[in-house]
């Protein structure tokens, strides 16, 4: 950030676990540094004032990037780009099999889309960030020139320095809401649901908070299934998080009720079952004809449109469902097929990356259903 980082007002609604002093590379009041040393990139999210939050799973960090002049200069909007993965690959000197898209996010100021990718295979893969403008022009962002602040995700303690630590984590979603950055993640070892949040601007005083959320599927059997995608949401002026888990459903939980992990695990309230054998990818909120909807992309079950008016009053699913789906109503959006990444473009359109890794992904602006 070009502006100096100020100490964040600590929001009182969270009194959760505070991890050790791994916190931030930025001291209160210090100016942001230039040139983040990204080891990986994605997922992405935009916050107010065009700050881009970029997760670096390999480094275990969340970066706040000031795109500066590189946010501008393109035609407003996002134009369709057929087989964008192939074009990006060619620009980066390789073929599309060497390009893994990690996320897609829209800058609400310009409505340009940003695509994060990893170029290459295995431990040699390197991150890249690209902007797509309203003329379909793809521009590589020179991240080495960006101003940034960052915060470290809490690391699980190692029991012994001599043991071989093969643990890795994959951050599955990053969002900004109400002065905090939120992140969900998965580990390649322990199977646990953790949702982590930290005040922004980042400060050394706040290393973030982490809460373990049980997946209250039918009240009798509770598991720690990881949350994959989520979106901050407000019900009756109260901040909530709406989350989607790996193995079933839509869950809501009030932010104010989250408690530290020491002691009681927290349980979300299941409000929807959308079918198995699929995982959520992205969620966006939008309004159409006076109604609000949650649009959720899934791996094998396509895109679902869920009216949100039932979120406040939906009866918790407390019994094992006897059909494949249940809870809040939803409808499938068959016109949006093979969606791999989804974000809100503007009041009337979403932008998606659709296709397959084998044949390449198309960037498309799609009218909101």
């Amino acid at each position: 950030m070009r502006r100096s980082v100020k100490v964040a007002a600590v929001l009182a609604f969270l009194a959760l676990t505070v991890y050790g002093p791994t916190a931030s590379t930025v001291t209160p009041g210090a100016a942001a540094a230039a040139g983040p040393q990204l080891q990986s990139i994605g997922p992405l999210a935009f916050g107010p004032d065009g700050v881009m939050y970029a997760a670096d799973s390999l480094a275990g960090k969340i970066y706040a990037l000031d795109l500066g002049a590189q946010a501008n200069g393109g035609a407003p909007g996002t134009a369709n780009v057929a087989n964008i993965t192939q074009k990006i690959a060619a620009m980066l000197g390789t073929d599309s099999l060497q390009v893994s898209v990690t996320d897609l996010a829209v800058d609400a100021r310009t409505h340009n889309s940003f695509v994060s990718i990893m170029r290459g295979q295995g431990p040699a893969a390197r991150p890249a960030l690209l902007r797509v403008d309203g003329a379909g022009k793809i521009t590589t962002i020179d991240t080495s020139a960006l101003q940034f602040t960052s915060v470290d995700l809490p690391n699980l303690p190692a029991g012994s320095s001599e043991g071989r630590n093969q643990r890795a984590q994959a951050i599955t979603q990053v969002k900004y809401a109400n002065g905090r950055v939120w992140a969900s993640g998965l580990s390649n070892e322990e199977f646990a649901s953790k949702l982590w949040s930290v005040a922004y601007p980042f400060s050394k005083a706040d290393a973030g908070t982490s809460v373990e959320i049980y997946h209250g599927n039918h009240q009798q059997l509770e598991t720690r299934a990881p949350m994959y995608a989520f979106i901050p949401y407000t019900i009756g002026n109260e901040p909530y998080v709406i989350g989607a888990y790996l193995c079933t459903p839509l869950v809501k939980f009030p932010v104010a009720a989250l408690k530290p992990t020491s002691g009681k695990p927290y349980r979300g309230t299941t409000i929807g079952e959308f079918g198995a054998g699929s995982r959520p990818i992205d969620m966006i909120l939008y309004k159409k004809n006076g109604r609000e909807f949650l649009l959720m992309a899934n791996t094998t079950r396509g895109v679902m449109k869920i009216p949100t008016e039932g979120f406040a009053t939906a009866a918790p699913i407390t019994m094992p469902v006897t059909s494949e789906t249940g809870g809040v109503p939803f409808e499938k959006v068959p016109s949006m097929a093979r969606v791999q990444q989804l974000d809100l473009l503007d009041a009337t359109h979403s932008v998606v990356l659709a296709g397959s890794n084998a044949t390449g992904l198309d960037l498309q602006a799609v009218e909101l259903p």
């Binding site: 295995g122 890249a128 070892e189 049980y214 299934a225 995982r279 791996t299």
Partner: protein
Amino acid sequence: MRQRNGGAGTRGRGILLLLVFSAVCCGRGPDSSTRLLTITLQPAASRALPAYVAVSGLDAAELSSLRTRAATDAEWPSLLKVTVGGDGAEGAGNNIAGDSPPAVEGRYAVTGTAIMFTPLFPFDPGRPYRVAFDPSRLPHPRHAAIVSEVVRLPPVATEPTTVVTAVYPSAGVVPENLLRIYIEFSAPMGSGAGLDFVKLVEVSGPGGRTERVEKGAFLPIEANFWSPDHTRYTLFFDPGRVKDGIFPNRQSGRPLHAGRQYVLDIAPAWTDANGLPLLAGYRHAFLAGPAVDKAIVLSDWTIARPAPGTRDRLAVRFPRPLDHGILARALGVEAAGGRRVDGEIGLESRDSVWTLTPVAPWQTGEYNLVAQPFLEDPQGNQIGRAFEAFAPGGDDLKSDRAPGSRGTPGNAGNDIVFRVPFTIGAP
């Protein structure tokens, strides 16, 4: 890594490619138009100096006229353009400008003798790149045809060598509610998910000759489940099917059924970090046993204590195997005052024995075996907390990680750490 290896290999073989073209003199240009233009691919000199393309044969005046042009100026690709691929007609013709195919991004520089192009990402070993130079786009144009040539670094490897070295749990019998499997490789693998290359096969019938693929056994997810060095992949069973009672489980049942024989079949097509397939496929056979759905109980562990004054190993035996990956970092030993005992960790008896061989001899006194709260068995059960916790009547979940065993929960970093005291040298 791969690019660095490629550079190193290239250094040993000398400069790869040379001249490609001699400019056609049309008789109207300056003397410089008769100079030979040469395109070379210079191998990487170091990690900091990756391979680059150089165009030489330009005279001092031509180079000088380019020297003020910025390294990333949009004009460069119309003069010197590098594109992916060496086949076909791309790059040829009368004009190299335009976006199709897109130019490889990079930085241009002018030295005393040449124009240099260094790609934003190092050139891929073995991949062909077409380099085209259009003399007519020099600030003082030469009336000459486009120079075009295909260059490539030598491939890092051409023959498959990577193999599967181990699968965990390694026991011949695993619980039917198994949640995860680790697959270890002899060398770094690519970034692809394992789902396309791994099958769960149920084996039955006389001689085990009947094979049936259990579809939908694994988590349909392409998250990065590789270890940091890409030599271990974590394969998660679909938790929706493993978890008792929820719809996918009720609909399709668990992927594994106690009493049945299975093979984890790993296809050789899975590619390593060099893009090469495995040297061979791999089949890991096992029998499914009854589910293990109980928490880990510390009081069930036995500690074989070494004698004081020795560097003999401490051995902790569990009544059932714990998670191979997590065990390596979730257990430790501390001496009086909380000082960590450094040493070498070992896993034995198919992950049901953990050992510590200390760097320094054991001393008579009090010690603690320290267990981190994230320790799990391969079914996801933790200390004092089963993967599937029972909370009758919808009551709030109890804090079921309180003591109840001889482990004492402590508080470190706001999470519970379990300590099991033991003595060395005492009766």
